[in-house]
Amino acid sequence: MNESIKANPNMGRGQISIDNVVKIYDPDGAAVMAVDHCSLEIAAGEICMIVGPSGCGKTTLLNAIAGFHSINSGSITMDGQMLCGPGKPQATPGSDRIVVFQNGALFPWKNVLDNMMFGPVMAGKMGIKEIKEKAFSMMADAGLSGTENNFPGELSSGVRRRVEIVRALMNDPSVLLLDEPYRALDSLTKSVMHEALLDIYYKNKVTIFFITHDLQEALFLGNKVAIMTSRPCKPKKVLTVDIPYPRSYRVVTDQRFRDLMEETSELVHEEAKKSFAAGEREG
């Protein structure tokens, strides 16, 4: 780690253990196994990238952590507390785990400032004035000053994504759950967004659980990368990216990065082919 990265109050929060999780969807009696005995350890303050073909069941895993869906067996714990597991199939959604959705979930009828303030106002632990100050300082940190009175519809998709991540951070979450947030962006915007996300990460050191099907994105951002099998979903290979932070976009041309790409692209490609053959689409 680079010394310029400050010690952070979030340090030590957001350790997640996924233990033998099974999820079976049962639409019309046709049991479809989405997640099969999946186990994964995510250390506090780590960026863990989940890579797999579309429809492999990655989002199912994320929904289980967030508490939007139940699991059939196994357990998920965060910082030693059970989120879901035996006797409690579905986690309770909470502001310690905030999801940033694939298509974005900024409230279009609220301006940026009101979106930022939503979580803390709901939590009711801080006064409105305090919340507003926090919102302004976090927006300034993320280079979003001046957008506070805009409605989300008036912003570019890149800026909207950044706003949504900062809105998530307003809740002081232990973990950010990102579900292919940059999927719809062009590759140039994407690389800008990557650096911006890392920037936010250096400042907040929040655990990040990031789903993607883009291997280069995974290796660039992650310090742990889990390559998942196509449905049913479980880790096929988990590797640590030993390239120190802070990383700039130039990293992708380094020999070490290219070696990692070479090492992993075969695995990902294999799963993509399997998934394609099985005709899986969304998930």
Binding site: A66, G67, F68, P93, G94, S95, R97, I98, V99, F101, N103, G104, A105, F107, P108, W109, K110, N111, F118, G119, M122, A123, F151, P152, G153, E154, N171
Partner: protein, 272 residues
């Protein structure tokens, strides 16, 4: 102010509109006067009083309190029916959207009643309600009610699941979700329902006034723009029929503009 007036007159689309209206009036004038001028009558439009004759008939009416009373009575009925439809229709639509049981019980009945045109209710309404005035208000209300309910229901049902999930994970209670997600997300649909509903109430009020003899207000003689047209027809004053028709056009346009402006004001965020 002066600038906006200037802008209006130099704006291409308002210039086009003005020219179109003038051309239309000229065409109408020539067709109406064809018998006297060219010795043959243009079919259909030739029987209608010419614009100049209509305006001649209109001018004395402008200082006639009976004419303005008709405006007032129709507008009062429209806005009463419309407001009651909003007050009952919005909560009802929201209830159907958020409560499965309520939906299961009430929606089928609602769907059977909905296709019945409001005007088909006129005889029944006259029997149900003690006064003609109340029958007209009831029928007017029906005209807007169904449209508003259907729009609110559709709007609230199509709210994206993500917004609920995001709100829940940020610690919102059920009430918070209703107040901060469902309501604001439905506002644009309410606005659409209201502006369509407003148009329907004008259609309905005029017909209801014709059928029911203008209601009991207006000094016992009845009234309203619909009645005004019918009365002119019975009295053989064809110019006044056209005056009444154009008056309704203007009244409908003004009230729709008002509703649209209000709708735009409350759903600013939908404008990109």
């Amino acid at each position: 102010m002066i600038r906006s007036v200037q802008k209006f007159f130099f704006n291409r689309s308002s210039r086009r509109a003005t020219i179109a209206i003038i051309v239309f009036l000229l065409f109408w004038e020539i067709c109406s006067r064809s018998l006297g001028w060219f010795g043959f009558q243009v079919p259909w439009i030739g029987k209608i009083p010419a614009p100049s004759a209509v305006i001649t008939a209109w001018i004395p009416l402008l200082s006639d309190s009976g004419y303005w009373l008709s405006w007032y009575l129709s507008a009062k009925r429209v806005f009463t029916g419309f407001l009651v439809a909003m007050i009952l229709g919005i909560p009802f639509g929201l209830l159907l959207a958020i409560n499965r049981t309520a939906y299961g019980i009430m929606f089928p009945t609602f769907e059977v009643l909905r296709p019945i045109p409001p005007l088909a209710w006129v005889p029944a309404a006259i029997i149900f309600w003690p006064t003609a005035e109340m029958s007209i208000a009831f029928v007017t209300f029906l005209g807007a009610f169904y449209t508003i309910v259907i729009n609110v229901l559709g709007g609230a049902q199509s709210i994206d699941q993500r917004f609920f999930q995001a709100a829940r994970s940020m610690g919102s209670s059920q009430w918070d979700i209703f107040k901060r997600i469902v309501l604001p997300a439905t506002v644009p649909s309410i606005a659409v329902g209201a502006s369509v509903g407003m148009g329907i109430t004008w259609e309905v009020v005029v017909a209801a006034e014709m059928i029911s003899g203008g209601g009991s207000d207006g000094g016992g003689k009845g009234g309203g723009l619909g009645f005004f047209i019918w009365d002119s027809y019975l009295g053989g004053s064809y110019q006044q029929i056209v005056v009444g028709m154009i008056s309704i056009g203007i009244a409908g346009y003004l009230s729709s503009s008002l509703i649209r402006a209000l709708g735009d004001h409350f759903s600013k965020w939908t404008r990109r």
